[in-house]
């Protein structure tokens, strides 16, 4: 893990720091002293086979599971242990696994609910930006979320999270159930988000997809980081494949 200097580049506070976090579900230890860092403006992927703890990591950061120990800092501000909705308000947007849309509410309602905390002017600005980024949602504004296709639902979940005007976006396996082409079109929005000052932490099972989009990546296995480095470098590293297949 030599690539990650905990102090990062000296000039900036990291967007998100996860430090030695342990999370348990019932009797099981799902995250086991996990640490990682996301610098401002970065796209970082958390890779790992299913059951490795990626979803639990994102849910712990978002406040849906209280960590047993460890610290989570957003731009230097400690957020662990706060109620989940306050963590959203503090600037963490979460696109959860399973998307968690409101099946009987319209696309427009989702955008509005996401933007409900921003002042009206900012809300309108964000909304316009979402419709520019995901033109297909603009054509479906009145439609219920439950009737959208899988790709559209994923875009809506991302748009809803972005409407909260986050500084860090957590994306949980956006590729689930989507054709790779559609996933790529989702990933193509990342540069735009980066320009808007949003840092992205992406959890992804698919190695190829996960590494395409990211600057850096961490590989998680059984609740711990086992490898990390620049995306290009990890793509060449056979140890990543070995971790996946337990070799």
């Amino acid at each position: 893990m030599s690539e990650v200097d905990p102090r990062g580049s000296a000039d900036a506070v990291p967007a998100l720091v996860v430090e030695n976090v342990t999370t348990r579900i019932g009797p099981l230890t799902i995250l086991d002293g996990l640490s990682l860092e996301l610098r401002a403006g970065e796209v970082v992927t958390v890779l790992g086979a299913n059951g490795a703890g990626k979803t639990t990591l994102l849910r712990t950061i978002a406040g849906l599971y209280p960590p047993r120990q460890g610290h989570i800092r957003l731009f230097g501000e400690s957020i662990e242990g706060r109620p989940a909705h306050e963590i959203t308000r503090a600037g963490i947007g979460h696109v959860p696994s399973g998307r968690e849309l409101f099946p009987r509410l319209s696309v427009a309602d989702h955008l509005e609910l996401g933007g409900r905390l921003s002042p009206p002017a900012r809300r309108a600005e964000l909304r316009a930006r979402m419709l520019a980024m995901f033109p297909v949602l603009g054509r479906r504004l009145g439609q219920r979320a439950g009737t959208l296709s899988g790709g559209e639902q994923q875009m809506l979940a991302i748009a809803r999270a972005l409407m909260t005007d986050p500084r860090v976006l957590l994306l949980d396996e956006p590729s689930t159930g989507l054709a790779p082409k559609i996933v790529l079109s989702v990933f193509q929005t990342f540069p735009m988000l980066r320009e808007q000052g949003v840092s992205i932490l992406l959890a992804e099972q698919s190695l190829t997809l996960g590494l395409t989009a990211a600057d850096r990546a961490y590989v998680v296995d059984q609740g711990r980081i086992v490898l990390s480095g620049a995306a290009a470098q990890l793509a060449e590293d056979h140890r990543v494949v070995d971790t996946y297949l337990g070799r």
Partner: protein
């Protein structure tokens, strides 16, 4: 023409039922809690209205806003005290224990009502004549309360679908995680839902006592009636419940006319058992 009268009366009754059921549904949708004190809130509000109208001589409908606000405050006070502590215990345990707690609350309210108003059936003498239209009779009281109930329900739908706080409530009932992802404080939404559910039950009580005589001991029947309707309409579904309420109103109006006797009062229970036996899947949350 007679068919029309039966239909209209049924729809008006159904309008009242929409309000009775929707208020229970609201709480269930957000919390998964069936409030067994639901009928008690209806009865207490109804009997209060009776006392208010008969002792002051003022139009009973004037009590509606007052009752609504007071009961909303009561609900907002009771929820964090009695129901919220159970929410930490996990879904299935919370469901059962909240049943126990609201069962206790039901008796507290009913007994207090018995103390204050006694056990005899009373109703407000208001609009006792009927409108004649095309040779048919329409009870004025039923028309007024049915229309008012429909108005209040429409207001609820408007609030749920058009306002920020209403949408937050719908969102929290459809996906709690999703609501949290929007920064919604789900705990506050639960309190809001309970307060509103109790207030709407109370509003229903004001309208029911204009049409039908109430006594404290009818509380459980009203709770069961509301539960039957939301079970038929689909737990947590607002449109389904409204349709079920209207249909039940019409069905009761029809059986009341053609079968008579107690048939119309037994109907909801028969439907309850039928639904339970035939469609157990209906009882899952929508």
């Amino acid at each position: 023409m007679l068919a029309l009268q039966i239909l209209v009366n049924g729809l008006l009754l159904g309008g009242l039922y929409v309000l009775i059921a929707q208020s229970l549904n609201l709480i269930f949708g957000v919390m998964g809690v069936v409030n067994l004190a639901h009928g008690a809130f209806i009865v207490v509000a109804g009997l209060f209205t009776y006392w208010f109208a008969s002792s002051t001589g003022i139009n009973p409908l004037a009590a509606l806003p007052f009752v609504f606000i007071v009961m909303a405050l009561v609900g907002a006070g009771l929820q964090p005290l009695l129901v919220e502590p159970l929410m930490k215990m996990g879904r299935s345990k919370a469901e059962l224990l909240s049943l126990m707690v609201t069962f206790g609350l039901d008796y507290v309210l009913v007994e207090l009502a018995l103390q204050v108003w006694g056990s005899s059936f009373v109703s407000v003498p208001y609009l006792q004549s009927s409108w004649k239209f095309a040779g048919l009779d329409f009870s004025q009281a039923l028309v007024v309360s049915g229309v008012f109930a429909a108005l209040v329900s429409a207001l609820l739908y408007w609030w749920l679908n058009r306002t920020d706080s209403g949408k937050s409530l719908l969102a929290a009932s459809q996906s709690e995680t999703g609501a949290i992802c929007c920064g919604i404080d789900v705990k506050r939404v639960r309190m809001l839902a309970f307060a509103l559910g109790v207030a709407l039950a109370a509003a229903a009580g004001v309208l029911v006592i204009i049409v039908e005589a109430l006594a404290p001991q009818t509380a459980d029947d009203l709770t069961l009636l509301a539960f039957v309707i939301i079970a038929l309409g689909g737990l947590g579904s607002y449109v389904g419940v409204a349709v079920a309420a209207l249909l039940l109103g019409v069905a009761q109006s029809v059986t009341g006319y053609f079968v008579g006797g107690n048939a119309e009062y037994v109907l909801p229970y028969v439907l309850l058992i039928l639904v339970m036996v035939a469609l157990p899947g209906r009882f899952r949350r929508a």
